[in-house]
Symmetry: C2
Subunit: 212 residues, 2 copies
DNA sequence: GACGGAACTTACCTTGCGGTAAATTACTTA
DNA sequence: TAAGTAATTTACCGCAAGGTAAGTTCCGTC
């Protein structure tokens, strides 16, 4: 042995394990900083490894991003689908969806923002894939919001678009607040959302009968 | 004359005019791309000028950002203050605030996002200044949200914090949607928000027992 | 019609990033 | 114990960004 001059060589970390480490670190970095501001050196440092290794495991920066995106997207899409799935839209549907999202995200809350990154190279495969995910999720929400608008007598298609947009960003906002309050459990967070919804409802002078 | 070898020299644009041009272009670029992703060369190209000129007019990249931030922040803070100022919080206060924001932003809608840029160097003067602005605006909103929560019987201070957070991001979301629909006038946008609020209120039934 | 300042560019430096080729070390097994 | 392979680093390239120093052109004016 005697003074190993180089730090190269295996560190005894099996491939699959390392893969997971990298994915976790990258998801966190991408989720907090955003694709553009995130740097491979920073991710590598989190893992305690060299930038080069990331390339060898995942290829290009965008490839790595995709590798983070896919599992998160699948998990969230699935969660929302089952949360909305069974019975039609009721008043508790939004809360049920939120709770399912919080639960699915627990342990890696920043992952949400990997799905909705605005700083992606617009022409790349990552952006396309992300767009697929949130358009799929939006479609699920579309039913609910349409019902909602019909109930209050608005037929404007732009209203529907705006409402979907707002709902999506509202979820993002709640998750972002949640990230800043790590002690909050998914259940506690859901209850908090319920209270906030109630407060918000009090804000608007009650119109007509909700949802038939 | 005969073949001017260099394109240097004055283009006959007076200093103040040029200043405004640069500020407008920079605000747009920073607002759409965000501080990190925005590049000085890109801004310079918008103006039809060289990167160097930007430095000569405004100094460093962060300095330029600050020069964009300050007028926007002042204008918005002022607008919100007067919109909330007179009578206490009523049911129409949020809409009045929104309308004032839309009006103040008309002509440069992306400017909003200069105020709420998350990709700023965290330790810099720009971030500090931006934080001052939105904490000042948040303080204005604090009164309203507190009333709201008290009305629904929540005393949790974290609820108040979350509500402020959500409200701020809601505004950002609406502005973002608005940016994507350039034909929408401030007034039309305000009316649309009123309809959306009504729909959202319909969603939450009377402040009954949350979570079934 | 030469002079001086205002407006602008050319040319350059440095840094940090994404990305690749070629070592270097450790683990396994025959 | 030596070969072979898996895991990792060193050393490098190219590029684009932020930033600076030194010009170059234009314009009014005496």
């Amino acid at each position: 042995m005697a003074t190993p001059r180089s730090k190269a060589g295996t560190k005894g970390v099996p491939r699959q394990h390392r893969r997971q480490q990298i994915l976790a670190a990258a998801t966190q970095e991408f989720g907090t900083r955003g694709y553009a501001a995130a740097s491979l050196p920073a991710i590598a440092e989190r893992v305690g490894v060299t930038k080069t290794l990331l390339h060898q495991y995942f290829g290009t920066k965008e490839d790595l991003y995709l590798a983070c995106l896919v599992p998160v997207g699948d998990r969230l899409l699935d969660t929302v689908r089952t949360a909305m799935g069974r019975n039609g839209t009721t008043a508790h549907t939004p809360l049920r969806v939120l709770e399912s999202i919080f639960t699915a995200l627990e342990g890696q809350r920043e992952a949400w923002f990997v799905l909705y990154d605005t700083s992606l190279p617009a022409d790349g495969a990552a952006a396309r894939r992300a767009a697929e995910y949130w358009s799929a999720i939006d479609d699920l929400a579309a039913g609910g919001t349409a019902d909602l608008l019909r109930a209050t007598g608005s037929a404007d298609p732009l209203d529907a678009d705006a409402l979907r947009y707002v709902w999506r960003d509202l979820v993002a906002t709640l998750v972002r607040w949640w990230v800043k309050h790590p002690d909050e459990s998914p259940e506690a967070m859901t209850r908090r959302c319920a209270r906030l919804f109630a407060a918000a409802a009090a804000l608007t002078p009650a119109p007509a009968d909700p949802l038939g």
